[in-house]
Symmetry: C2
Subunit: 317 residues, 2 copies
Amino acid sequence: MSEQKLRTMAISVGDLNGIGIEIALRAHEEISSMVRPLYCISEEMLSQACEKLDISRPENMEISPVGENFEIIPSKINKKSGAYAYHSFMKAIKLCEAKVADAVITLPIHKEAWYKADLSYTGHTDLMREYFDKEAIMMLGCKKMYVALFTEHIPLKDVPAKITKEALYRFLVDFSREIKTKKIAVLGLNPHAGDGGVIGDEDKKIKKVIKKVNYALGEKRFVGPFVPDTAFTKPMRKKYKTYVAMYHDQGLIPLKALYFEDSINLSLNLPIIRTSVDHGTAFDIAYKDKKPSIKSYINAVKAAVKAAQYRDEKLSL
Amino acid sequence: MSEQKLRTMAISVGDLNGIGIEIALRAHEEISSMVRPLYCISEEMLSQACEKLDISRPENMEISPVGENFEIIPSKINKKSGAYAYHSFMKAIKLCEAKVADAVITLPIHKEAWYKADLSYTGHTDLMREYFDKEAIMMLGCKKMYVALFTEHIPLKDVPAKITKEALYRFLVDFSREIKTKKIAVLGLNPHAGDGGVIGDEDKKIKKVIKKVNYALGEKRFVGPFVPDTAFTKPMRKKYKTYVAMYHDQGLIPLKALYFEDSINLSLNLPIIRTSVDHGTAFDIAYKDKKPSIKSYINAVKAAVKAAQYRDEKLSL
């Protein structure tokens, strides 16, 4: 009875005016062999989406209804769709908290639609940070390469001041607890990682923190700070699979240049597990029968299964 | 007599304690079929390097002697080696100014050795900027992708303030004159290119400047500002081969992640043509018979030939 072993995954359907629900429907059969998906959507909204997409509703789709129904307007940024995405996500979180589900898998929301719905979060991670009052860590990547972001959706000019010894120390210690990887590459901040202090002084600070963290951990798990522009060359990527980036684009530019459609987004250091696709709502192709790639979604499901396993192993220690 | 048509290239030999001279020697035969190389090095230093490398001195190597001879100490950062590299570079520049050579091709210098020799430039480009009193533009890349850097070797925290309308306008206009490419992608500064002003305000400024420059040029040559982390995905790279990056690592992280050994460095917007390898002195493998890759050097020679051709075409208009 291997079916009994399938983990339940709460699926947050994202902005229904975007491509998320199409991806969920097209991937349903495939992911059903790996997990028991539980869709946070009402029967009405699901039927409406199926109709608009001209896809027949799979019979074995389990739902956990949420929110106020509304009319889907493909590719439209609107308040109702934003609010619905929020309620779907919150329901998914609560299913995890209640241990009904093992993890949350999120399809993309639209930030402007959230803004219109008076939701001021910059995204899923930000919302969870506030909801759980915990320093969530955002990690993106795929099997070949993962990048954890020390800072996320903030202006570039605010990044250097965020690199304090305390904050980076805390981040690295938290991060080390969340993943198994033995060697983690930490990037410097400045060109040439500061060239010995000639170009900015933050890299020296980063170096000291790495030393201190490794000492506290009793092993040299963190290595660096690496010169950013040579950290992602082929020889380096053979040595390191996991990176800590000081800012959003430092980590995501190389990740997306190399492994665009494969990547997923994981939220670490939280009471629940959450994985996500790493793309947006793609309004330009929504409801147009363009068959969006389901690769990132499938990978998000696989990563959630792996993360749930890892958590259970840790719990059983 | 096709030999008569070969262009003369002044070769700046770089830091002789590093891998540059080995690359020059190993590539000599190959590049001699494309250009007439003129090495800025004394007979004594050349013989010394050959001996230490156990490579016999090619007979047909033409030299233009410079500087004070010294003893090569493999992998050593020192003043004399730094000063010699400087004199070799200056000689190469002067050969171009005197129209003896068509372009300068530089092998890597070591910045700390320059520092020890009381040379305060952050590199070749910086020196030329001062020498010619012109806003040199640094562009790196290979056939598949080129990146021009709006800012270079400055601390990340100083980047945002450098993005003024005047400076960016001037940069883009200068750049447009130097290359043939019809469509040039300009990157934004902040995550998601500012998300409509929610994350920093520099991207709005960049947008206005692009509009103004295109208007002045009478064509939409510059496109953007693009969201940095999705600007280098495969579909984007099919559309754009030339990028303008706001800061060093924004352009060089993806370039080196994708095309490490192929890339070269070009200095644009100057009275002379200069191309360079895009790697450093690699002291860790210097004089150790490790046969460093000559790919970047060969590409630098090819790019110099192409740039000289382009300049002549422009001059003949």
